[in-house]
């Protein structure tokens, strides 16, 4: 699943500094290639820069074996622009519409669909509110866990209420969000596309917090909690090594 990044320039600069290929090598290299393309380098120059980056990240990797992959990634990256979005703004009118739904799971999923649709519109103005992310990613971002059958029925409910619609093609599972309304004051600014469901819940109160290390919004389990589970583990390891 491709991670959703609002500011690819900053993200790539961090990766270049950390010399890290991240969880998804293809996505990382694609963004690095777009970064250099935005600076005006030619295709061959970008290939050379990407190869150099890969070698710096892991000098055991065989560049010869990865050549075709890198060429394909660079070619594909040249067709799109570097994404540089400050935030995705959700308005009061949109929040009210979502909040009027029956059930917090529906609300979280609808909120996530709205964020994804607005992200798509920001990246490509002709997007027109369509969401083409996989169900798995949508429900993961919404922090909703349910079977695939129930996922489809939940979306069916949203469709019957007019919040979303679909294309006529029987195998096209993209979703069009119908409740985009930018003619209202901004209620919430989304700068991080992780745990969108929890960000929605936090807006309406509840025990949610931001991790002091990585910034992800999580559900607070203790009063003095500062970090998310992943960061807490890393910090513990660092403290143990220091001692």
């Amino acid at each position: 699943m491709t991670e959703i990044i609002l500011n690819e320039k900053m993200w790539v600069e961090n990766r270049l500094k950390e010399r890290s290929l991240g969880n998804n090598t293809g996505d990382t290299l694609r963004r690095v290639a777009k970064y250099y393309a935005a600076q005006g380098y030619t295709e061959n120059e970008i290939v050379a820069k990407v190869e150099s980056f890969v070698e710096k990240c892991d000098n055991t990797i065989s560049i010869v074996k990865m050549q075709k992959f890198i060429h394909d990634v660079v070619k594909s990256a040249m067709k799109s622009n570097l994404i540089d979005i400050d935030s995705i703004n959700i308005t009061n009118a949109e929040m009210e519409m979502i909040h009027s739904l029956d059930g917090s799971m529906q609300e979280r999923v609808m909120f996530t669909l709205l964020c994804l649709a607005k992200y798509g519109d920001a990246v490509r103005p002709t997007n027109d509110g369509w969401v083409n992310n996989e169900s798995k990613q949508i429900f993961k971002l919404a922090n909703v866990v349910m079977t695939t059958m129930r996922q489809s029925l939940l979306i069916h409910n949203l469709m019957t209420k007019g919040y979303v619609s679909f294309s006529k093609a029987p195998d096209n599972v993209n979703i069009k969000v119908n409740i985009i309304n930018n003619d209202s004051d901004v209620a919430l600014r989304i700068v991080d596309f992780r745990n969108l469901g929890m960000q929605y819940m936090r807006y309406f109160g509840g025990k949610y917090m931001e991790c002091k290390e990585c910034g992800i919004v999580i559900r607070r389990t203790t009063n003095n909690q500062k970090y998310c589970k992943a960061c807490a583990k890393l910090i513990n390891v660092q403290k143990s090594s220091a001692n």
């Binding site: 892991d58 055991t60 990797i61 065989s62 074996k65 990865m66 169900s135 695939t148 059958m149 489809s152 029925l153 979306i155 069916h156 469709m159 019957t160 679909f166 006529k168 093609a169 029987p170 195998d171 096209n172 599972v173």
Partner: protein, 266 residues
């Protein structure tokens, strides 16, 4: 092969079509071979993949659109279907990635599929692998078990890490040597946690074989011990099949007989 034989979109009318052009196009569209027949999904993996994706997406789309499964929609009487449902089904069949008409090969394919579908393969718990044939009588403590479980998990994590690195580059002799060194380190760790070899062996077998977990750890740590234990149980006798014309076992069109061999032991 002319493109209009297999590409529907290539069947275009010229700017000022005649009656003959229109008739020819209609004929071509009726007979265009723009998709392979249904049975060929078992021959071409990409067609199987396209087919499965189409069915999966269509099923999801049907539930999202109508709140009922595709099977339920297909089994509904036409008179009960709404216009949208009928339209959905029409498009569903029109856009199918394979030809589903009743040609002879398709009929044979469906007949064989039905035959396999009608058979239920029951997993009988009685047939589950009996790990007692691997084990000895030695006992281990709960602490030893937990400690070895920890080593087992570290081993598997390390293995995943190594596998990921070896997909990116070719394994060299140095890598083999490094791998042997860390295998030896794990063996030493196991021995430190549980000095009694028999008890260690039983603990490792229980961890690896009781649940459906990776057995690689067991064979790397105690492979020799497993073989020795099995041989001891069978009085150091090994049975093996040999191809013989008068053999009592028939397999793959050939006949085999089981022979026994006594293996040297200490």
């Amino acid at each position: 092969m002319p493109r209009y034989w297999y590409d529907r979109m290539a069947n275009k009318l010229p700017d000022n079509p005649t009656e003959e052009d229109i008739a020819r196009r209609e004929l071509n569209l009726r007979i265009v071979a723009d998709r392979k027949p249904y049975f060929m999904r078992y021959i071409y993996p990409n067609i199987m993949s396209d087919y499965k994706k189409y069915i999966s997406n269509a099923r999801t789309k049907c539930i999202r659109t109508f709140g009922i499964t595709l099977d339920a929609l297909e089994s509904m009487d036409e008179s009960e279907q709404t216009e949208e449902q009928a339209d959905f089904l029409r498009r569903y069949y029109y856009r199918f990635p394979v030809g589903i008409h009743d040609c002879v090969m398709n009929k044979i394919c469906r007949r064989i599929e039905n035959e396999f579908d009608s058979r239920t393969f029951i997993y009988d718990a009685e047939d589950k692998f009996d790990i007692s044939i691997l084990k000895t009588d030695a006992e281990y403590t709960s602490f030893e078990f937990q400690s070895i479980m920890k080593i087992y998990k570290e081993f598997n994590d390390k293995l995943k890490e190594k596998s990921a690195s070896f997909t990116r580059k070719r394994k060299t002799d140095d890598d083999d040597m490094i791998e042997e060194i860390w295998m030896e380190n794990f063996r030493t760790e196991c021995a430190l946690v549980c000095p009694n070899e028999d008890a260690l062996y039983n603990a490792i077998i229980d961890i690896s074989y009781k649940k459906n977990w990776s057995k690689y750890f067991a064979w790397e740590m105690m492979g020799d011990y497993i073989i020795r234990t099995l041989l001891k149980r069978r009085n150091y006798t090994v049975s093996y099949p040999v191809e013989r014309e008068d053999g009592d076992i028939e397999y793959y069109g050939k006949r085999f007989a089981m022979l026994e061999l006594e293996v040297a032991h200490d």
